[in-house]
Point group: C2
Chain length 137, copies 2
DNA sequence: ATAATTGCAAAAGCTTTGCACGGAA
DNA sequence: TTCCGTGCAAAGCTTTTGCAATTAT
């Protein structure tokens, strides 16, 4: 009777609550790179009464556990990505959407050391105007 | 009688004020990647009475003019870099310092288009624990 | 003269925290 | 039972804005 969310939460060592399951389900396979606020308002529809603090706390724990990744690409707010595999992002200054980007000759994102510093994560961020927004002008 | 800051400001089309000159001088060759708050408090020492809004406004104009660059690497605040040439950054999660990084095989930061999107800027951000902070543990 | 800039203060956003109650283990 | 998690509300920070007085051109 254990679904994927239950398994994941137990693996991480978190208590299994309906709120957390809803958050995990929303994020699973989600490629919109939602902000905390966005996640909150989406969850709210199917889960009236959930508080922002719960969403915030859960996201923090998931990031800490390495289950999801926090992106610093949107100048205005933090964005979250359930995909922790190496890939790049494009941020549209006009609409604020974040797109996944794949290069033919990928930059190596597995660097572990540089100049004596310990590298834990690498983010390659492209910024500009997306296809859609370009068209509308 | 025209110094470098005067020339730069006129080039950009901004009025030349002592406040702006002080900000430009502080940034010139500055490799600490300061935040707006940091710039404000540094300027304050040599320029009592300057307001944060002035610093903020000037930084905005300089970014808009392409004279300096805004970095989205510090999760907590915006950082500014007077060097607009292609280079990478390392952010230390412990002390918050931002270091310039140079690779042997640099990733091309001159891409202008990808997936139909127009690319205006690329930032390659590395995060982890810096040499110094590693040593202290 | 006139249009831009400054300083002050307040507002706006997003993020984070404290705490009492309730629920998972 | 014992802690952890939730919800509510407030606090904290950084960023942004409005406006009257001042200054550069």
């Amino acid at each position: 009777m254990k679904d994927q969310t239950t398994i994941k939460l137990k693996e991480i060592g978190l208590k299994v609550t309906p709120q957390r399951q809803a958050i995990l389900k929303l994020l699973e396979g989600n490629q919109t790179h939602p902000s905390a606020e966005r996640i909150y308002s989406e969850i709210l529809r199917q889960f009236p009464g959930i508080s922002f603090a719960t969403v915030y706390n859960t996201l923090s724990k998931l990031v800490e556990a390495g289950e999801i990744q926090e992106l610093d690409i949107d100048p205005n707010k933090k964005r979250f990505d359930p995909c922790i595999k190496s890939h790049y992002h494009f941020y549209c200054k006009v609409c604020g959407k974040v797109f996944d980007i794949v290069f033919d000759n990928p930059f190596p994102l597995e660097i572990k050391r540089i100049d004596g510093h310990r590298v834990d994560a690498i983010q390659l961020n492209l910024k500009g105007v997306c296809k859609e927004c370009k068209r509308k002008r």
